[in-house]
Point group: C2
Chain length 371, copies 2
């Protein structure tokens, strides 16, 4: 991972759950062979599978020393807190890892390598502090160039944060690859970068250049792919992150959108309070409501059309809270409500939405041949 | 300006025109007493008034030495190129200014103080390099808090970049103040910061925190104001900057919007090519079209309503290219097309739109008293 073979200890202290341990869960799902242990002292002694339904017998341990005993040789910060700061209690774990000569992989907004103490320790031990959220130095401004690529570009969009946009894109890639379609994944967030070994965490990019960076990523990925699956971020109705979402929509210039949603979620999740935050909590009517899926389909298509038209081709549901029967029902209801193919890509496979992408890909090819 | 009284030489080499010299024009319009000279060797010997219709007899000179002869004691970088880099030929002027012991004020994306050579020179001479685009270290995530302030929050939005959003906000502040309304201006771009001596250049803020920063700025400004006028950025139809626009719309949570447009502009201006840019130019159908103003009104109201409803209360036109009669006609046409009060705030005053804001302010007060 990130340039060399590693045996990761993933730090997920107090948060190794399916919903909070987003980075840990993503890496366990897609690169389990590289995970030696999870560090969460509140769940030590259990297995990863028991905590998050993934990762089999990979052990959950109390600290860096215990992870070392299980063969870990690198530390990954497996949390993505609002604001992205390194929680103070976790510093000790980072220090211990560096002292053992481990590289540290981080997706935090506050860069480990910019921390004077940690940087000095790392330099003294010859270890790398890999901040995958650090934005590239280049500053491209988007101009709709990605709309001209030959590949079919598909962007996952969502009803909210944390509803499965990265996972839907990765599962669609897997499904398309199984059908012999050359499908590329463009990572736009820290977990996606850990999974794909490349990409840019666009939420840390200066806002003027987010669309431009995405445009570059799409054009690069399109060189060797028939379908480019772009990991979406945020949601158009999220008060904090809607701008990131629109930058992706206009920068990637997708022809196809896949709408992601967690079944049962009815309003945008308010950001969790930060330690030391001085702002009062939201004072008025509360978080924005998530409207019916058919309304979201229309909103995303309208917003895309401000620059380039795009079509929502399917719905990817996240049905974690439901049993199998209820999950199947939720998928059927979503399909009925939108008139679109729907799936839970993790639970039942991404087949129906992959089918829709293949239909669009075929139509593009016919169109290209005809003209 | 920015902490002390200064006599500015504004560097606008080769670009001291009404449309390209955006920062220079803004500072000349709102703080002319602090400008000693404009540096543009291609126009040396003329007056500011002759070049941009503003600034009276303030001279345009060829270089830093000539500006010094006119009493300048600080250099302001008066250009905002796409990508924000310091054009190589301008470095010499910055060096000369530092050698003379001048502070340098810059709104570029590349920070002067991070340039090792310039920083060392500045330290040796004891001068300040003031990078107003440097984002604050804090990382707030917006959560709709600005919607709860008592003041009427109004955001200027536009059909494109560079159509007069900052100017409309400043002229509305002036007009409201003349009526005895306590009106605050929130600067969100480098020129606005130079004019207001405070604010944040949101386009340089990591995209996750743009809405949060704007939320903070609005809440702070609302403490001493009846109306908070927020400088908008970009446009929802701009492929490069739409995300910045949406972040402002959801972060500021305005009740009122003022739609800004340059009469006659029919499509989004493509970003100018950067020196050394490796991307091909946009390959397909060209820049997005600017739709009729009534459509833009609906689009901005729809996008606002994803988080909090807002109403477009008026139109501010930029009629630079027209004669007076044609300008009056353009304003009347915009009012007719949208059913809203319209003005050219610079040419004819912001009165009609200020009237509309006063009506909304009065309605809010009645509502607040009644509840």
């Amino acid at each position: 991972m990130l340039g060399k073979r590693r045996r990761l200890a993933i730090l997920a202290e107090g948060s190794f759950t399916p919903l909070d341990g987003k980075t840990a869960v993503g890496v366990l799902r897609y690169r389990p062979d590289e995970v030696a242990a999870i560090i969460d002292s509140t769940r030590a002694g259990r297995t990863a599978e028991a905590c998050v339904g993934l990762g089999g017998a990979i052990p959950v341990v109390a600290d860096v020393a215990a992870a070392a005993a299980h063969g870990a040789d690198a530390l990954m910060i497996g949390i993505a807190p609002v604001g992205g700061e390194l929680p103070a209690p976790w510093r000790a774990a980072v220090r211990q890892a560096i002292e053992r000569g481990w590289d540290v992989l981080s997706g935090l907004h506050s860069f480990l390598a910019d921390d004077a103490e940690l940087a000095a320790m790392a330099a003294a031990r010859g270890v790398a502090l890999l901040d995958v959220r650090r934005p590239p130095a280049r500053r491209p401004v988007a101009a709709g160039r990605a709309a001209a690529v030959e590949a079919l570009v598909a962007l996952t969009v969502g009803s909210d944060c944390n509803v499965g946009k990265m996972t839907a894109a990765l599962e669609l890639r897997r499904e398309l690859a199984a059908r012999g379609v050359r499908a590329a994944f463009v990572a736009t967030g820290q977990t996606g970068i850990f999974v794909a070994d490349r990409g840019v965490a666009v939420d840390a990019v200066p806002s003027d250049f987010v669309a431009g960076i995405v445009e570059e990523l799409v054009m690069e990925a399109a060189q060797d792919a028939d379908v480019v699956l772009v990991e979406g971020q945020g949601a158009l109705r999220h008060p904090g992150y809607s701008g990131v979402t629109l930058s992706l929509l206009h920068g990637a210039a997708p022809a196809a959108l896949v709408l992601c949603h967690q079944s049962g979620r009815e309003s945008i999740r308010a950001p969790r309070p930060r330690p030391g935050a001085t702002l009062p909590p939201p004072a008025d009517a509360g978080a924005p409501v998530i409207p019916p899926l058919a309304d979201l389909v229309r909103e995303y298509e309208q917003a895309a059309a401000w620059v380039r038209p795009a079509t929502v081709v399917g719905v990817a549901l996240h049905t974690l809270d439901l049993d199998d029967a209820a999950a199947r029902q939720a998928v059927a209801t979503a399909a009925h409500a939108t008139g679109l193919p729907a799936c839970d890509p993790v639970r039942f496979g991404a087949g129906p939405v992959a089918d829709a992408l293949c239909v669009h890909l075929e139509a593009r090819r016919r169109h290209a041949t005809a003209t």
